[in-house]
């Protein structure tokens, strides 16, 4: 796969409206910066190839290569990606009940992994008012501070890059699907660095149907919500069709169609609902508010789950078959919609040099997300 430079990155991703602000190109150099969800090139960089391009999850990523890096096997295009097992999960008795979303599974696993020194640092995404703020956390007690959903696209991978720069070697990351894909690319050593070792120790993916453009979302809420007083945000299950914003001054409801208008264009090309390139993926457990769906994808993901269960940080149970089928259907729908959109705009397998979106094997293209 050919690596190009920042100029091509800007043209193919940012100017083309595909950027989700994941932060993969940020904190590597002084040229690219992320602010309020938007990524900017401050000065022209003349290097013909750079990590900014190599790490980006939106520049014609070869999903086979990414899949080989993480799973040792090619990408299949199945709705839920490669996995070992799917469970229902929630925080165990070692975890204090707190301000975490649904079952608290991600917080539980990250707390456990930091506690047991499986990780030397965890990259999480907290919130400052409405603004998502990626953080490097080294103490298990600090995990809870970044436990709540914020729905806005966040430059989490920039904090991961920063953690690498600071010399952390076993980094845990809580990542959205696009961020997990960026991490898979980082792990594939695209710049062919000598003495390269995988800087990640555990990538905990979170399900994502879309994220919000922070700036547009903030504009939507301005005047309706005191942004500094936000405690928690939630989207209750259908048919509620609303977002609930809990603040110190009470709860504000925003109709979901209005919220959905603030989704960045780049999310429309996303094939991945369940963070397929993570070690484990966590999301809603349909019909339950006290539990999560947990997809265990890799050996190290399985080790982390088993250890967390053994030491009382996590409880797991079987996920009903019906839930699995609904999840797969939803994930398949997202994949199909994205592929149709991307293919319709010529953003699949561009052919001449690298351009945009994804590179897929012809079999996967034929499957079309089914």
């Amino acid at each position: 796969m050919k690596v190009l430079g920042s100029n091509e990155l800007i043209a193919a991703v940012i100017d083309a409206g595909l950027c989700t602000g994941c932060g993969a190109c940020v904190s590597l150099c002084p040229y690219l910066k992320s602010h309020d969800g938007k990524t900017a090139l401050l000065f022209p960089c003349t290097r013909p190839e750079g990590r900014c391009f190599a790490y980006c999850p939106k520049v014609e990523v070869d999903l086979d290569e990414a899949s080989l890096t993480v799973f040792g096997k090619p990408y299949t295009g199945e709705p839920l990606g490669h996995y070992i097992d799917i469970k229902a999960a929630r925080a165990g008795h070692k975890m204090k009940k707190g301000n975490f979303q649904a079952g608290g599974t991600v917080s539980a696993i990250m707390t456990y992994a930091l506690q047991k020194k499986i990780l030397d640092a965890a990259v999480l995404t907290g919130r400052d008012g409405l603004r998502p703020v990626p953080r490097i956390v080294t103490s298990p007690a600090s995990v809870a501070e970044s436990a709540s959903s914020n729905y806005s696209a966040a430059p989490t991978v920039s904090a991961f890059n920063q953690a690498m720069k600071e010399g952390y070697k076993r980094i845990g990351v809580v990542a959205t699907p696009c961020q997990a894909l960026a991490l898979a690319q980082i792990r594939s050593n695209p710049m062919k660095e000598k003495n390269f070792t995988d800087p990640t120790a555990l990538v905990a993916g979170i399900f994502c149907t879309w994220a919000l453009d922070y700036r547009r979302f903030r504009k939507l809420l301005e005047g309706r919500v005191d942004l500094n007083a936000i405690i928690k945000m939630d989207i209750p299950p259908p048919p509620a069709e609303k977002m609930e914003i809990f603040t110190k001054n009470g709860t504000v409801e925003i109709p979901l169609p209005e919220v959905r208008e603030q989704v960045p264009e780049g999310c429309g090309y996303c094939f991945d609902m369940t963070a397929e390139f993570a070690d484990l993926s966590v999301g809603v457990h349909e019909g339950r508010t006290d539990s999560n769906t947990l997809i265990i994808r890799t050996e190290r993901g399985a080790d982390a789950v088993n250890g967390a269960v053994r030491d009382g940080y996590l409880e797991v149970s079987d996920l009903p078959k019906e839930n699995r089928e609904h999840l797969a259907a939803a994930a398949g729908n997202k994949k199909r919609r994205a592929m149709e959109k991307a293919a319709g705009e010529g953003l699949v397998n561009t052919g001449s040099g690298r351009c945009a979106a994804v590179r897929l094997s012809s079999i996967t293209v034929q499957r079309g997300g089914r």
Binding site: L28, H35, L41, L42, F43, C45, T46, E49
Partner: protein, 645 residues
């Protein structure tokens, strides 16, 4: 001994044109001198301030050119001789008041020295201020060399008193900032008395109230003054002719162009064919002298800067005198013999004369010229203008540029004229997007800040210097605050009028002669208007950028004062705060993650790229030790340590 204090007439000095003007003013017994600094005029007041105590002169750096003329005018109508100095566009600033001074008339001799800058060597315009003389109906003088600059200045005060009119005297960069030999004259006694008499009848030029009304009557009086000036100029020794009685070609010239013309005649060895009429009194033109000169030759070449001022005025007279002077072929700017714009030099005059006279002249053998031009192209890389090493503006624009880029809403910066004008160039990271007259950045920004209703959501930043703030920015800031315009006004406070040589201004605690004065706090001025005011140190890169990003979230007129003293200020010059060096083992050079960020992007002249080793190096001769580059190095390779005192 300095020429300022030498009372012995007849001594010969090598002095700048501006010094010659100063000596002329001293010999005329000037009592009050005021100005706003502007290249190439600034040395006039600087030098007069040195003589202020000994020669009993009140010298003032005024807040702007209009006020400077008002201050000098007060002295004139109190019976003193006064002088004002300014650069070409200063006359524009002062012109409203000048229009009224022309009509009201003066008492003590009053001279306005306006120094034009043909070629815009130190300006962002090529304004031709001579036209004001015609427009304002004021007499205009132009010295043609250094001795004349002294003599004419001294004479101009008497002329002013004889005409009861302000006299304009125009210099140019190549005279003001060039030097030549001047033989000095006597200095008068220093006792002077000021009193403003106003009890006489309206219209009495010595004792009445000084007003412009009744306008119809005063306007007639003004025209009569010009008529008288014309008569006086007929016999002026400052209008000279050199050459044969009936030359083939007559050059009509003035100011520094006189020297270029004489040089051209010498180089072409054409003294027997070309005559040079050098005019020292260029408005109003003396018609009899012009008639006599036009009768000398039927080919006339005008050599002047910048616009064809004398050319057009002479042509009007030639049309009126057509019956007497006959048909003349005119060469000059209007027919393209001489370029309409830009600075003149001897070579342009040589080319023009050679063409008219059919002389072949080549300044260099063709093969020599070809070789020289090739070397110029391949071996002498152009020196783009840049901020000095250690200049706070480099850091300020770095912060503004980065904050605007990070904010990512296509925000931009409006500016005006000062050293910081270079902010539009790569040395200022191409940050400044508009640049016009003093104070216009905030005025333009005030307008931009009201375009929201048309869908404009770009953040608007404007910058001006501390001296400019007082000169012309305050009314525009009032406008922005009052009209609730959304702008960030950044005061680039480097503690002085840095560009013109660090003159004091109302924000500094000293006057022109170094005595203490109350300094006016720009922050307090801004706050009193209702703007929010914050401070930042531009050398604190992170802190300043965070402050800017926060301010961009807010509305209304916000003021950020970026305070850091000019690197050339007397307090800082030659003193390094930090010793700066690059750790070559840490510098990652051209690799991903840097790509020569300090030399390629930050571009301080104190940094050099070592091509062989692939690392940045600090040039200790150039580096001013500000230490800012240490903050921008992405790998921490640039190290700064406190310099030993």
């Amino acid at each position: 001994m300095s020429y300022l204090f030498d009372t012995k007439s007849g001594t010969r000095y090598l002095m700048m044109g501006n010094d010659a003007i100063v000596r002329g003013a001293l010999e005329a017994g000037v009592g009050v001198a005021s100005a706003y600094p502007g290249t190439p005029s600034s040395e006039i007041i600087e030098q007069l301030s040195r003589a202020s105590r000994e020669r009993n002169i009140y010298v003032e750096w005024s807040v702007n050119e209009k006020v400077a003329v008002e201050v000098a005018f007060a002295a004139s109508i109190a019976g003193l001789r006064s002088i004002c100095a300014m650069k070409q566009n200063g006359v524009n600033v002062a012109s409203d008041f000048l229009l009224h001074v022309a009509l009201s008339g003066t008492r003590g001799g009053m001279v306005l020295v306006h120094c034009d800058d043909p070629g815009a060597l130190s300006s962002i315009n090529e304004g031709e201020s001579r036209h004001f003389a015609r427009m304002l109906e004021l007499p205009l003088l132009e010295p043609g060399d250094f001795q004349e600059a002294k003599d004419m200045t001294a004479w101009a005060f008497g002329l002013s008193e004889e005409l009861r009119s302000l006299v304009m005297m125009r210099s140019v960069t190549r005279l003001s900032h060039a030097s030549g030999n001047v033989t000095i004259g006597d200095l008068p006694p220093t006792d002077k008395k000021a009193v403003f008499r106003y009890d006489g009848p309206l219209g009495d030029p010595d004792t009445g109230p000084v007003v412009t009304m009744p306008v119809p009557k005063n306007h007639v009086l003004l025209q009569n003054k010009l008529k008288k000036a014309r008569e006086l100029f007929e016999k002026s020794p400052f209008n000279t002719y050199t050459g044969p009685e009936k030359p083939e070609l007559l050059i009509i010239t003035s100011s520094a162009c006189n020297l270029y013309s004489l040089e051209a005649v010498r180089l072409l060895n054409a003294g027997g064919r070309v005559g040079v009429l050098k005019l020292g009194t260029t408005w109003p033109l003396p018609p009899e002298l012009i008639k006599k000169s036009l009768s000398r030759a039927d080919k006339i070449l005008f050599v002047e800067e910048v616009l064809p001022f004398t050319e057009e005025n002479v042509k009007i007279l030639a049309a009126e005198m057509a019956a007497e002077v006959g048909i003349i072929k005119f060469y000059g700017k209007n027919d393209g013999t001489i370029p309409m714009t830009g600075e003149m030099n001897p070579d342009i005059v040589v080319d023009a004369c050679a063409k008219i006279l059919g002389i072949t002249y080549s300044p260099m053998p063709a093969d020599y010229e070809a070789a020289a031009q090739e070397m110029l192209k391949t071996l002498s890389p152009v020196r783009d203008l840049t901020f000095c090493p250690g200049c706070p503006h480099r850091a300020s624009f770095w912060n503004i540029h980065n904050a605007l880029a990070i904010d990512n809403r296509h925000g931009f910066t409006c500016g005006d004229i000062g050293c910081y004008t270079l902010g539009f160039l790569p040395c200022g990271f191409n940050t400044m997007k508009t640049s016009h007259s003093m104070g216009s950045g905030i005025g333009i920004a005030s307008g931009f800040g009201k375009l929201k209703q048309f869908g404009m959501d770009q953040p608007i930043v404007t910058v001006c210097g501390d001296s400019t703030f007082f000169h012309a920015a305050i009314p525009a800031l009032v406008n922005a605050v009052h009209n609730k315009s959304d702008v960030i006004f950044i005061l680039l406070d480097n503690s002085g009028t840095a560009m013109t040589g660090f003159q004091p201004h109302p924000g500094t605690p000293l006057d022109a002669t170094g005595h203490e004065l109350p300094d006016i706090d720009p922050a307090a001025v801004c706050r009193s208007l209702g703007a929010t005011v914050e401070y930042a140190d531009p050398f604190d890169i992170d802190g300043t950028q965070i402050a800017l990003l926060r301010l961009m979230e807010e509305g209304g007129a916000r003021v950020l004062i970026m305070k850091q003293m000019c690197a050339l200020s007397p307090a800082k010059k030659g003193k390094k705060k930090f010793e700066v060096r690059v750790d070559e083992n840490v510098c990652i050079g051209e690799n991903c993650g840097c790509n020569r960020f300090c030399t390629r992007i930050f571009r301080c002249p104190g940094l050099v790229w070592d091509q062989e080793c692939g690392v940045a190096v600090v040039d200790e001769v150039i580096c001013a030790g500000c230490g800012v580059c240490a903050s921008i190095c992405p790998s921490g390779a640039i190290r700064k340590t406190e310099a030993r005192a």
